[in-house]
Structures are given as structure tokens and as C-alpha cells.
């Protein structure tokens, strides 16, 4: 269903006017209420009055992940903290978190865009949804939860993991919709077979998959294995969480809800707009958010945008699947991992300043495996098995507690990690998507 026909199917001229109106307001709001933006805009020599239409957006400075890190924890808040009703953090590139806050209106907005997203996937009020994204600080679980309640679905708040329980819930309650990472969906198929369940006969008819990159061939595999429709959801916590864009049942790109999230595509080197339809870095401006409005936030995701009208009737532009990143972030089981975080952990463990490498792999039908390879140094070498095993354990635990993702630690001999120009290659991604 189309949840909000007025906004999602608005003719482009009206849409542009709405966007312009909102852009003017949000620029003014950010300038007035957020010292960070005031400073930034003053330094950039631009005034809220300079923004008269959507094309003037290019006059505004961009906001980066580093800006978010440096303004931690409160400098980016534009609303007083007592009006903030929810805070989420995700792990940042080094020690600090990336923080996002929501006022009551922001939570309503989140529920609204997630309801639109579920509508894109094909959900109808009264359907049952199994939410297998993690609940808590991770925005995946609660985002879907709010949207599903808004639409009037019956929610199974399963949260992530515990595969057997997930499958039992599916089998017992027959939910029509599944929300999880695409690799987890494939993984569940293996487990289902082991439990004697036939994935083809599952109750899931529609999947809303995201939080990690995936390919058309994975889509085909999911659809044929589970006999269900697999659609793509896009979001990032800085903007709102899931619900920034979602594929409709025609599966030709993800409708971005551009009346509230204004998209641009720029050349990451020059910062200039790319030609229409060309690939570049996705930059988003939140047009209505109150707690932390973001102006021209660089997502570091590489996409292209199509502005043609979709068969489904929605006029909102469509972004392509994410084709890459402009930084060295990797996504493992839906969780963002920066090599610098691992470095931070190793430095924190006494006496280790070692060379390390991250290897991500995904075997057929299994979940992502993250292996952290650490070169052993003389300082930490003991000739007792117990001591070395407990060192391994310690590194593993520290990393897991920072990242919230399961890792394997492998100790290797010195100089065995491949170096180029003296520097070790930090990430090896062996996954075939």
C-alpha cells in the first residue's frame, strides 16, 4: 500500500516547493538553535536568508562523520535535552560514539517514514511482522517497531539472533513479513532445513532487508530459497535509522522519502554535484528533524539517483543499491566496523602496538565472519598455552564489547601480515555478495 499518498505521489513541482519551504525553515532553525551550525555557516560566509530554493542548498557547507564525532556528545543538539525523548548511539570511528537524538516529533517522523517504508514493501494494516533486527541502541529494531505499530501491524519483537527461536516463532505465529539482514535470512534457511522445516513453505511472503550491502544474486537466492519477495531498506542512524529509503515491489531502486530527507549526489573529491544519473556520494539534508537536524550530511555511501516516475505511482526519487563506500568502513552482520576501532582496542591492551589485519568472509549459507589477525610480539609471548589463550580471549572480549560483533582472533608470527610500503593492509574483504 502507499501509506502517505499525498507526500509519496506529489507531483514534482509541488514536491520541489515543499522541499524549498522546509529547507528554508530547517536552515534557519539549525542556525538559530545549534551553535555548531551557526559557527560553520558564519565561517562559510553563508546566511539562512541566502537559501531561497532547493538549488541554493549548494551554498551550504557539508557535514561529515568527523563533525559528528567532534561535536560529541551535545554540540549538535538543536533542542533542549529535556525535550529529547530518545537517544541512540552507534560506535564511532575511534573512541567516541556517534550520537543521535529524537524529540517526540522526531519519533513520530520515524514511525511515519518507517510506515511508508513498510508500505513500499507491500505491508497492509493487520499483517504480522517479525522484527529480527537488534533492539536497543541499534536503530534497526526500534525503528521497524515504531513503524509497524504506526501502520497497525502485529509485531513480534524477536530482536536479533537465536535462530531456532526465530524459526519457531515463524512456524507458530505465521508472520507475513520478515525484517532482518539479508545474510541472516539466508543463514536461517540452512538452520530451517536442519530443523526439518521447508523454507519454501514458510509463512514469510515479504522481506525488508538491509543494514548491510547485498547484491541482486543474493536477492534471487533469498527469493527462490524462501519463496518470498525480497526488498531493500536503506537508512543510517545519523539521519534517522531505517526508513530513509525503501524499495517498492517493482524493485527498481529505493524510494527516498525526499520530502523529509533531501538527497544530493556529489563527487567526493570536489564536493560538486555529479551529472544527473551518475554515481557519487550520497548527501542528505533532514528537512524536518528537531533534535539533531543535519544539513548536507555526507553518508560516504556511493549511489546514483533516478528521478523518473516509478510504475508504483510514487514520485519520490529512487537511489540505486549502495555500490560502495568512500572510506574503509566495513559492515559485518549489519554492524559498522572501522579498522581504527580495532587499533584503538589493541593499543588499550597493555604492551601491544602490533600489526593487525581484519579479514571478513562469508561462506555459503553462513553469516559474516570477522577475523582479527594480530602479530605476536616478544613482549607478549609466553611459552604457556594458557597464557597465550587468555591473551587471545582478552583481545576477543575487548573487541566484541566495543563493536558488539562476534570476532575470531588469530595470533600469527611477526611479519606475516602482508605490507605495502611498510604499512600493513588493514582490511581484506573476501565476501562474494
Amino acid at each position: 500500500m502507499i501509506w502517505n499518498k499525498e507526500m509519496e505521489c506529489m507531483d514534482l513541482e509541488n514536491l520541489k516547493n515543499t522541499q524549498a519551504e522546509r529547507l528554508k525553515k530547517i536552515t534557519e532553525y539549525a542556525y538559530k538553535n545549534c551553535s555548531f551550525y551557526k559557527k560553520k555557516m558564519d565561517k562559510h560566509g553563508v546566511n539562512p536568508e541566502d537559501v531561497k530554493g532547493v538549488d541554493d542548498i549548494q551554498k551550504l557547507p557539508i557535514t561529515t562523520k568527523n563533525d559528528m564525532r567532534d561535536s560529541y556528545p551535545f554540540q549538535l543538539f538543536s533542542a533542549p535535552i529535556k525535550e529529547v525523548s530518545e537517544i541512540h548511539v552507534s560506535s564511532g570511528t575511534t573512541g567516541n560514539f556517534t550520537v543521535v537524538g529524537y524529540t517526540k516529533e522526531d519519533i513520530k517522523l520515524w514511525a511515519e517514514v518507517m510506515a511508508r517504508a513498510l508500505g513500499c514493501a507491500g505491508a497492509e494494516p493487520g499483517d504480522m511482522i517479525q522484527i529480527a533486527y537488534g533492539y536497543g541502541l541499534f536503530t534497526g529494531g526500534l525503528g521497524f517497531h515504531y513503524g509497524a505499530l504506526e501502520m497497525g501491524l502485529t509485531v513480534l519483537p524477536a530482536s536479533s539472533g537465536q535462530t531456532k527461536r526465530q524459526l519457531k516463532l515463524m512456524n507458530d505465529f505465521k508472520p507475513k513479513i520478515l525484517a532482518c539482514t539479508p545474510s541472516y535470512c539466508l543463514y536461517m534457511a540452512e538452520e530451517a532445513k536442519e530443523m526439518g522445516l521447508d523454507p519454501k513453505k514458510s509463512s514469510w511472503e515479504i522481506g525488508s532487508f538491509g543494514a548491510e550491502p547485498w547484491s541482486e544474486s543474493m536477492r534471487k537466492e533469498i527469493e527462490s530459497t524462501w519463496n518470498m519477495l525480497a526488498t531493500d531498506v536503506y537508512g543510517l542512524s545519523e539521519i534517522i535509522g531505517p526508513g530513509v529509503a525503501h524499495e517498492c515491489q517493482h524493485k527498481k531502486g529505493l524510494h527516498i522519502f525526499s520530502d523529509v530527507f533531501y538527497p544530493e549526489v556529489i563527487d567526493p573529491k570536489t564536493g560538486k554535484h555529479v551529472k544527473k544519473g551518475e554515481k557519487g556520494e550520497l548527501v542528505i539534508t533532514t528537512l524536518t528533524k528537531r533534535a539533531i537536524p543535519l544539513l548536507r550530511y555526507c553518508t560516504r555511501d556511493i549511489v546514483s539517483i533516478s528521478y523518473e516516475k516509478c510504475q508504483c505511482g510514487r514520485t519520490s526519487p529512487r537511489i540505486s543499491k549502495i555500490v560502495g563506500r568512500t572510506d574503509d568502513m566495513i559492515i559485518v552482520r549489519g554492524i559498522n566496523v572501522f579498522p581504527s576501532q580495532i587499533e584503538h582496542v589493541l593499543l588499550g591492551i597493555e604492551g601491544i602496538h602490533p600489526h593487525y589485519q581484519l579479514v571478513v568472509d562469508r561462506k555459503a549459507g553462513e553469516l559474516d565472519e570477522l577475523e582479527v589477525i594480530v602479530e605476536v610480539e616478544e613482549k607478549i609471548f609466553s611459552d604457556e598455552m594458557k597464557a597465550l589463550r587468555s591473551l587471545e580471549e582478552k583481545i576477543k572480549k575487548e573487541i566484541e564489547s566495543i563493536l558488539g560483533v562476534f570476532v575470531r582472533v588469530k595470533l600469527v608470527e611477526p611479519k606475516t601480515i602482508e605490507r605495502s610500503e611498510g604499512k600493513a593492509k588493514r582490511v581484506i574483504d573476501k565476501r562474494v555478495l
Binding site: 541512540h88 501491524l153 513480534l156
Partner: protein
């Protein structure tokens, strides 16, 4: 002391009016229970075919108890009294192997639950200005989402962390100047013991209150926690069958937990005979839901032991106060706030062919937290003499247990015949935890 109320009229209602209110709601609950496959024949047998057959609250005694086993038998929809279309959420209890239990909620049910939690929060003196860090797990477990909705209703700023990850918890407490936490008492003590190691000091925090529940603990531990952190700690009681947290909560006077009696009928019974017990007598708590449309429960035996305090509270709330929970009538274990039945562990272990005939479960304290150690004997007939296979076996049992009981156990492999032999699964559990 300043007393604040969320819903003063209901919270301070006089007892007679409360009883009248209960009676009216009970009749409606009976009517909706009659729509379920489970209660219909049961109530008919007890001579009740409509809510009108209930003349006074005393008639409640004619209704048979509902047990955990009944709930299991009703899985999945034996207790569902509305159309599935009207259900907006459901929670199930743990159990991938054993039969779980399920509670459905309509939007009305969730609103009522949220109100009870909001009342509880306000009763402790918290409000809109507070920064609330919720350290209870989110998802099917009701501890997380239950408080979450109530806290948002009140207008607090919620940080939905969920459980675990101590260092991150502390960092957030510091960075966002958290004033209220929702936590298990043992995790609270654990945080204290890890402060220095994680590079924090109490002066980094702005903590004022802790809502503590999900596991039994003593008054001494409360005092200790209050002194260590220089905060006020409030007892919270709830169980998923009765929605979750927000069933009973302490007010600022901290003399027992006000049970929201407009939403639940509270009885204390002698566990063996089921006979009603008077005030200040310890017995099993029995609840009847009055405000839940999707899954009404009549006289549900909680298996929790407690008593009801005498007299009126200084806060003027007329809802009676429950003592802290003193024990259980069954062999359920509470490990770091998670409910575990020994039978769940046994079922998993005994399914694995490489495991011998004997096993033992040890519960110990590691610092302030519980540690679950599962000791299994290896089975000599299946032993192939390869260390790598033993590594894999250990990992396999660990994963299977984790999947079923949500707790990460410590696995120990033992020689055949080296563990003491006991009959019955409860005896195989050795609880070495000192009571907190």
C-alpha cells in the same frame, strides 16, 4: 517529602470504590475470558457462563487457578480472546525446546501497561527532566520495552541500551549525565566493581535513582547500593504473564511495592492448599488481570513468594504494598535476571551424543555477576581421541545452550564417572551464590 502522582484519582481511590471498580472490571474480564478456547469450558464447569454470574469479589474463589503449565498448553492461541487483527504486539517467554508461553496485546492493552509504568516512574519522583538509561534487554523479553514506553510517556529522555557491555554503559552514563537507570541489582554491583578498570569514577556520573528488579535481593543489598552510588534504589516487580515490569513498584517511601490493583486483583495463597492468606503472611502471589483484552488471565499462580504489608502508605496511595520477593515455589533459577529452568539445560545436554550420562550445573558469583558453569562428562563410547573434536564439542554445547537459555555458560568437560550422581534434575544444580 513531595508526593507526585501520574493519575491521582485512581492512585488514591478509596478502598471501597476500588473494590467496586475491580468487580466491574472482573465481570468484563470474565466475559472476554469466555471467548477463549481455554477458559470457556473451565468457567462453564464452575457454573459461570457470563460476567454477570460474578456477584461479588468473593466469587473469585470459585474460579480455578491458572498455572504456567496451562499457559504452555494454550500455546499458541488457546488464550487469545480477540481477533488477531486487533493484536499489535506479542511477547513469548524463552524456550526453543520446551514449550514457550505467549501473551498478546491489543493497542488498548499496551496503553494500559504504559500507564502503569508511567505511574510507577512518577511515584519515585522522576519526571520529564530525567535522563533514563534502560539496561534491561529489549525484544521478546519484556523488561526493556516495558519501561521504555512508560518512560517516553512520562517524557524522560530514554537511552535504550539494553543489557551488557559495561564499559559502554558507563561511557553513556557519563556523556549524557544519566539520572535514572533500570537494572538488575547484581549488574549494579558489577558496574561498581568495574569502575576503575574501565577508567571511570563515581564523580563522572550524575546518577540519582536506580529501578531494580528481575531477580531477588535483600534489603541490605539495596542499602549497600544506595550508599556506594549515593542514590535512591527502588524495587520493581513484574512478570511477562502480567505484561512485564509495572505490576508493582515502590514509591518514594520505599516501604513495599504498590500493586496497581485497578489493573490486577492480588491474592496471596498457601502454595500447597491454595487457601487465601491474610496480611503479613508469606505465600504465593496470585494475579487476575483486569485491563488486558487480548490475553485475560484468571487467578494466575506466579510461583513467586511474598506477603502483603498492613496499613496505608504515607504517600496516600491506597493500592496495597507487596513485600520483596522472598523465594519461588518451583526450581526456576534466576541468572543475571534471566529465568532458567534446569529442565531446559537437561534437555539440550542430553540430546548431544558425545555427552555421557551425567552432568552438573554450578552457579557461582564472579564479582557481582552470576556465572553459570555447565559440567558434563564425556561419553567414553563416542570418544575418538582427538582434541580438536573436543574443542568443537565444547563450542557446540555452548552455542546450543546460549540459543535456548540466552545465557552464555562456562563449559567444562569432565572424565566419565567423575561427577557425583544424583537423581532428578533439580539436584544437579549446585547454587553456590551467596544471596545478595
Amino acid at each position: 517529602m513531595e508526593i507526585t502522582y501520574w493519575n491521582k484519582k485512581i492512585e488514591t481511590i478509596d478502598r471501597d470504590a476500588l473494590k467496586k471498580l475491580q468487580l466491574g472490571k472482573l465481570r468484563k474480564t470474565i466475559d472476554s475470558a469466555l471467548k477463549t478456547r481455554f477458559y470457556k469450558p473451565r468457567l462453564k464447569k464452575a457454573g459461570i457462563s457470563s460476567g454477570k454470574d460474578i456477584k461479588s469479589l468473593a466469587d473469585l474463589e470459585n474460579i480455578p487457578f491458572t498455572t504456567k503449565d496451562d499457559l504452555r498448553e494454550c500455546y499458541t492461541d488457546g488464550l487469545l480472546s480477540v481477533k488477531l487483527d486487533d493484536v499489535v504486539r506479542l511477547h513469548t517467554s524463552s524456550g526453543t525446546t520446551g514449550i514457550p508461553t505467549v501473551i498478546y496485546h491489543t493497542r488498548h492493552d499496551l496503553d494500559k501497561w504504559t500507564e502503569l509504568v508511567a505511574r510507577s516512574i512518577i511515584a519515585t519522583g522522576s519526571g520529564k527532566k530525567d535522563i533514563f538509561q534502560n539496561m534491561m534487554t529489549y525484544g521478546l523479553f519484556t523488561g526493556g520495552l516495558g519501561l521504555h514506553y512508560g518512560a517516553e510517556k512520562v517524557g524522560m529522555t530514554v537511552i535504550p541500551v539494553g543489557g551488557g557491555n559495561t564499559k559502554r554503559q558507563m561511557q553513556l552514563m557519563k556523556d549524557f549525565k544519566t539520572t535514572v537507570v533500570h537494572i538488575t541489582p547484581s549488574y549494579m554491583l558489577h558496574i561498581y566493581s568495574k569502575l576503575e578498570e574501565c577508567g571511570f569514577a563515581l564523580s563522572d556520573f550524575n546518577l540519582k535513582k536506580a529501578y531494580m528488579g528481575a531477580e531477588p535481593y535483600s534489603e541490605n543489598t539495596r542499602k549497600k547500593i544506595e550508599k556506594l552510588f549515593n542514590i535512591e534504589a527502588y524495587n520493581s516487580y513484574g512478570l511477562s504473564e502480567m505484561n512485564g515490569p509495572g505490576v508493582a513498584f515502590e514509591c518514594v517511601y520505599k516501604t513495599g511495592m504498590h500493586t496497581w490493583e485497578d489493573a490486577y486483583i492480588l491474592e496471596i495463597v498457601e502454595p500447597k492448599t491454595g487457601k487465601a492468606l491474610g496480611e503479613e503472611k508469606e505465600g504465593e502471589i496470585v494475579f487476575t488481570t483486569l485491563d488486558r483484552k487480548a490475553t485475560p488471565l484468571l487467578r494466575y499462580r506466579t510461583r513467586d513468594l511474598a506477603s502483603v504489608y498492613k496499613g496505608l502508605c504515607k504517600c496516600k496511595r491506597t493500592h496495597r504494598r507487596l513485600s520483596r520477593i522472598t523465594g519461588r515455589t518451583d526450581d526456576m533459577l534466576i541468572v543475571n535476571g534471566v529465568n532458567v529452568f534446569p529442565s531446559q539445560i537437561e534437555e539440550i545436554i542430553m540430546r548431544i551424543p558425545e555427552v555421557g550420562n551425567n552432568y552438573q550445573v554450578h552457579l557461582e558469583k564472579e564479582g557481582a555477576l552470576d556465572k553459570l558453569i555447565v559440567k558434563v562428562e564425556i561419553y567414553s563410547k563416542m570418544f575418538k581421541g582427538d582434541l580438536r573434536e573436543l574443542d568443537a564439542l565444547k563450542e557446540k554445547i555452548k552455542t546450543e545452550l546460549k540459543a535456548s537459555i540466552i545465557i552464555n555458560p562456562v563449559m567444562e568437560l569432565h572424565e566419565p564417572g567423575s561427577l557425583p550422581v544424583f537423581e532428578g534434575k533439580a539436584k544437579r544444580v549446585v547454587d553456590l551464590r551467596t544471596k545478595i
